[in-house]
């Protein structure tokens, strides 16, 4: 910058006459628009010769900083006003002594009148802003601690609220300064502003509640349980994208109706209680005192808007959503999240809202409604005249971007939960990642939103007005451009800015218009959709729905038109698809699921091209889709799994344990946080499970082999999870050692289906853990061995069973462990024997017939196996208590089977799987002492041995095994058909027919008759072996 050098020598600038031409010219050269005023400000800055003496060494640097500020005149003027506020000498010393001070004062003062005024009102904050600890990103916890610290000195409510207001301005100044200095980008700034609002809301609600509880007691539901209140953030607050001067959009909900427990002013209805709380809260946040105000609150997004009650119970909210809620209200709820208050109420609220916001499948009404809303926007724009200068509502403005994003979210996130994202920018990234937005468009929209939001920010931070309109005045526009970061002279900066603004808004508007334009007329080349009759004839039961689905397959979901390569791929694929559908067990379901898969994966052309090139893969995929929702859901959420299925080695040969161990190994990455490893384990296991199922569907493996692979996969997952659990626990406590310093090991015993190697889709893992004996860990915080393994097992259970964003690995069931429910999760070897000898019920001993070592320390495992054998088959083991077994079986049949004439239960029903298992186990426990061969936990193997040992007459053992295999296949198929695994077979629905087809019976009737015959045979044998 020319001129600064001259000025360094111009010690007389501070004393120059106010009309000194040389001085004025120099200031003009520096970029001051009003040199006279600047000179006057310099004079005002140093009313005393002593002040001038202090300031003159800084003068060159000061003028340089002012000149580089977006608006030099404003910056200098604000500095002068700040100086007038306190001791000049102190300020000048600070400006001279701190390397960041002049820069901060110039940038903030030259960018935002609002912030400069805030600083002037609280000049002591300047030194706070200049502390290194201040100018960084603060976590919510740190902000909360800061607010609590400030408020703790006060008891009077008004004083506390003032402390909150001061806290807000302090934080605002910090966040905005970082933004203006370029230390924080838009995402960080808006997130910090949102966190700051959350922190204030949480404290504000806590104070309000304290007062309410004192006056009225605690609110209780009708049944006497406590109930709470949640402050739900919506709009920009909900999306963590708050502006400097945004109102905060809130909705208040409370848990249940009822009355308060009573306080100083008696008891009132919960509704009145929370309404009073909400009013106090809003009033306190909004009221303006000497210390300013906290937030402006907007409650119009509540049900019925201005007409509705300020607080609503969850039940009332549900009723509203069911009866009245309009599309825009559902759209607004995309952004809902807990800001303050009771987390469990908020969780219930979000659970309640979710199905209304995110509907599975494609709701054709949405498209029409979204188009309707878009037309309204157009009309309101037309009514106001084309507004190019309105950053938010204008043509190509923020609203067009947000509307487009939210419309896509409403349309697609019912099937793809990944898209349920509150933050607009992240939503754009996710939509692009999933392919709903083409890469280039997604990138552009992200860039556009950042640009427009930054412009909005800089407009609003000037005076803290909620302005969205670009200034008309060329000079003002130039200053805005410089506030946006341009270092060019104002005229040039303005020209560049205008060009950029035009480019962005035109691009946005073009995308917006094209996106909502009606789809182009179907091309001539499009394949013809088969007629109603043709579809009916080929096995579709609902040809209308099928035609609609086929149209969606060909044309894409509305508003998500296909790109050209995709369209070609689909057209090429269409005949193959029809062929595959006709051959599948359930064409209707297959098509439904295929359309869902396509909607999620389809935009990624690569998958489609893969399918078009590989008719075999497509046919298999259709088969998979026909098997129902559970598997398709996996593919819908992770279309990349399709790549694995396309790999021929996936189906080539059955897989062994070693392979699964390798496949799951990436989950063990030692440097990853546990949560990331858990998610990796989930994804890897699910991919393998899909491949296992895929092989079974394609006939590479039979039902038996399928269970074996599922079991071995579970064992591999268990091994990985056990390693993770042990490592985490050892990190906290060290490893357990006995008195001699030897490691106290542990092993894992599988029971039930897991023990019997009979796992299928959706099975739990029944297991317990046995450790060697007494000991203590060698870590800094020593604990006993049983505590160590208790923790490890608990962690194991959550590593495998917790539902995270990536789903579950497999739920763990520890209820069959030795000891009562209240006891620890792991037992010592000694306790194991003692428990079964002295305490266990006969049925608990029966469960041990299926015990099998599935993991952990093999040496200890052998000892445990020996002990278990002694317990079940040893010399002193009692023979089975057949009468008790029968009673137990009767209860299972009644309470778990719940069979009716129209509903069978494959597992617990008469003649079901459990009958076979009980027959086998009764024989094992009776004869196992003398016939070690029949002791296998695997039912079919055990039956084979029972037959060979002649323990059942004739070929009854083989027949029983055959029926068992049949029932297992029915069960396995049933589990694949439904959204959630079940063993219940409803005779009325479509399921029996589907089972008949997949089990290759000529008809539904023949399948059911065979089922009846087989179960009757099993039951007859059961009555003989386990008599009353």
């Amino acid at each position: 910058m020319r001129g600064v050098g001259d000025l360094a020598n111009m010690t007389n600038l501070l004393t120059a006459a106010s009309r000194d031409r040389k001085a004025l010219a120099a200031l003009k050269r520096l970029g001051f628009g009003e040199p006279r005023r600047a000179l006057a400000n310099l004079h005002a800055l140093t009313p005393d010769p002593r002040d001038a003496e202090l300031l003159s060494p800084l003068l060159p640097r000061l003028l340089q900083e002012m000149a580089e500020a977006p608006d030099p005149d404003m910056a200098l003027n604000n500095l002068e006003r700040l100086a007038a506020q306190g001791e000049r000498a102190a300020l000048f010393r600070l400006l001279g002594g701190h390397p960041g001070a002049l820069h901060l004062v110039a940038r903030v003062g030259g960018t935002s009148q609002f912030l400069a005024d805030t600083l002037r009102r609280r000049p002591t904050l300047l030194s706070w802003l200049l502390e290194p600890g201040t100018m960084r990103q603060w976590l919510a916890d740190e902000m909360a601690a800061g607010l609590a610290q400030s408020a703790s000195a006060f008891t009077r409510p008004e004083a506390r609220w003032n402390a909150l207001r001061r806290f807000k301005y302090r934080q605002l100044l910090r966040i905005a300064s970082r933004d203006i200095l370029g230390d924080a980008d838009l995402t960080v700034t808006t997130e910090e502003l949102s966190r700051m609002a959350d922190v204030c809301l949480a404290a504000a609600w806590r104070w309000t509640e304290e007062d309410l509880v004192r006056r009225f007691g605690e609110p209780r539901a009708e049944d006497g349980s406590p109930t709470g209140f949640a402050v739900i953030g919506m709009g920009k607050l909900g999306g963590d994208e708050l502006n400097y001067s945004s109102d905060i959009d809130l909705v208040f909900v409370y848990g249940d109706d009822g009355f308060t427990s009573g306080g100083e002013e008696g008891s009132i209805a919960n509704g009145d209680y929370f309404a009073a709380g909400a009013r106090t809260l809003v009033e306190a946040l909004e009221s303006v005192t000497d210390e300013g105000y906290a937030f402006r609150v907007d409650l119009r997004l509540r049900p019925e808007g201005r007409m509705g009650g300020v607080v609503l119970s969850l039940a009332a909210y549900r009723a509203y959503l069911e009866e009245r809620a309009e599309l825009w209200e559902r759209q607004a709820l995309i952004k809902a999240r807990l800001c303050a208050g009771d987390a469990s109420v908020a969780a219930r609220f979000l659970d309640l809202v979710r199905p209304f916001v995110f509907r599975p499948g494609m709701d054709p009404d949405i498209v029409a409604a979204v188009r309707g809303m878009k037309t309204q926007i157009d009309q309101s724009l037309r009514a106001k005249g084309v507004q190019r200068r309105h950053v938010k509502l204008g043509v190509g403005g923020i609203r067009e971007v947000e509307f487009l994003v939210q419309a896509l979210q409403l349309l697609c996130s019912g099937d793809d939960p990944w898209l349920r994202e509150r933050n607009s920018l992240r939503a754009i990234f996710r939509l692009t990642e999933r392919g709903y937005l083409p890469q280039a468009l997604g990138r552009f929209l992200g860039e556009a939103l950042i640009f427009l939001r930054t412009v909005e920010h800089r407009l609003q931070i000037l005076d803290e007005f909620q302005t969205h309109t670009l200034p008309e005045d060329a000079a003002a526009l130039g200053r805005l451009a410089r506030r946006l970061g341009s270092t060019l002279p104002p005229v040039e900066a303005r020209r560049r800015f205008e060009a950029e603004y035009r480019r962005i808004t035109q691009g946005v508007h073009q995308a917006f218009t094209e996106f909502f334009a009606a789809p182009p007329a179907a091309r001539a080349a499009a394949p013809r959709i088969p007629t109603y009759t043709a579809l009916k004839a080929t096995g579709f039961t609902d040809p209308d729905r099928a035609r609609q689905n086929l149209r969606l397959v060909l044309e894409g979901r509305p508003l998500v038109p296909y790109a050209e390569p995709m369209r070609r791929a689909l057209h090429a694929m269409f005949p193959v698809l029809l062929e595959a559908l006709w051959q599948s067990p359930d064409p209707d379901e297959a098509l439904n699921q295929f359309e869902r898969f396509l909607a999620a994966a389809g935009p990624r052309t690569a998958y489609l091209e893969l399918l078009a090139e590989r008719p075999d893969l497509l046919a298999n995929l259709v088969k998979l889709c026909a098997r129902g929702e559970l598997l398709t859901q996996l593919l819908v959420t992770q279309p990349e799994l399709l790549n694995g299925l396309a790999d021929p080695s996936t189906f080539a040969s059955p897989r062994r344990r070693q392979y699964f161990r390798q496949a799951l190994a990436p989950a063990l990455g030692p440097r990853l946080p546990l949560s990331e490893r858990m998610d990796r384990l989930r994804r890897a296991k699910q991919a393998e499970e899909l491949a296992i199922t895929w092989r079974m569907l394609l006939g590479v493996t039979d039902a038996e082999r399928f269970s074996r692979e599922m079991t071995e996969l579970a064992e591999a997952a268990l091994a990985a999870a056990w390693l993770m659990a042990l490592a985490e626990t050892a990190e906290a406590y060290g490893v357990p050692r006995d008195a001699k310093g030897q490691l106290v090991g542990a092993c894992i015993i599988g029971l039930g289906k897991f023990g019997g190697r009979e796992l299928s889709t959706g099975s739990d893992l029944d297991l317990f853990v046995i450790y060697g004996g007494a000991g203590e860990t060698d870590g800094a915080e020593p604990v006993e061995a049983h505590v160590f393994y208790d923790r490890a097992v608990e962690l194991l259970s959550s590593i495998l069973g917790d539902v995270t964003a990536a789903g579950v690995v497999v739920p763990v069931d520890l209820r069959l462990r030795p000891g009562s429910k209240g006891s620890g999760f792991a037992s010592s070897l000694e306790a194991l024997g003692q428990y079964y000898r002295e305490w266990a019920d006969p049925w608990e001993r029966q469960t041990l017939t299926r015990a099998r070592l599935v993991g952990g320390d093999p040496r200890l495992g052998r000892a445990v196996r020996q002990e278990i054998r002694a317990l079940v088959y040893g010399r002193e083991a009692a023979p089975p208590h057949l009468k008790e077994m029968r009673e137990l079986r009767g209860r299972m049949q009644k309470e778990l089977g719940k069979e009716t004439p129209g509903r069978l239960h494959v597992k617990f029903g008469r003649g079901g799987l459990v009958d076979v298992e009980f027959i086998t186990q009764a024989i094992q426990m009776t004869h196992g002492k003398r016939h070690p061969a029949i002791r296998s936990p695997h039912t079919v193997t055990a039956l084979g041995a029972i037959g060979r040992a002649g323990l059942l007459p004739g070929d009854e053992a083989d027949t029983l095994a055959a029926h068992y295999r049949f029932l297992r296949r029915v069960s396995a198929d049933l589990r694949l058909f439904g959204a959630r695994p079940t063993d219940t077979l409803d005779l009325a629905g479509p399921i029996p027919a589907r089972l008949a087809k997949s089990l290759e019976y000529p008809s539904r009737k023949e399948f059911l008759e065979d089922h009846k015959r087989r179960t009757a045979w099993v039951r007859a044998l059961y009555d003989r072996v386990v008599p009353a």
Binding site: G86, E87, A90, R93, L94, G97, H98, P99, G100, R122, T124, L125, L126, S127, W128, L130, E131, P132, G133, M135, G146, Q149, S150, S152, A153, F154, T155, R156, A159, N162, A163, R166, R170, L181, D183, E291
Partner: protein
Amino acid sequence: MKKIEAIIKPFKLDDVKEALTELGIIGMTVTEVRGFGRQKGHTELYRGSEYTIDFLPKVKVELVVPDSLVDKVVATVAAAARTGSIGDGKVFVLPMGEAIRIRTGEKGESAI
């Protein structure tokens, strides 16, 4: 009568002022000062540039209160000025010989 002198972080001034107002204290003298205690001169890194600090900006609050209020005022100032980090400051309690209100010539506690 005692004189209370508190050296505090500048940005805590408003909290301290409001807390004292809550106690019914309306008069005080505030000076911007510089100084250091345990937080003595050291180098710091601010937004990437290193610099040496000899004296830190602080605010000195001075007030004279009757003996009955001393403990309360000291506790209040300490609570309101606290952030928990180094440099929170100090409170000094000094004996007070006499106070005179210049306008009226009142002396002692009625003058404060």
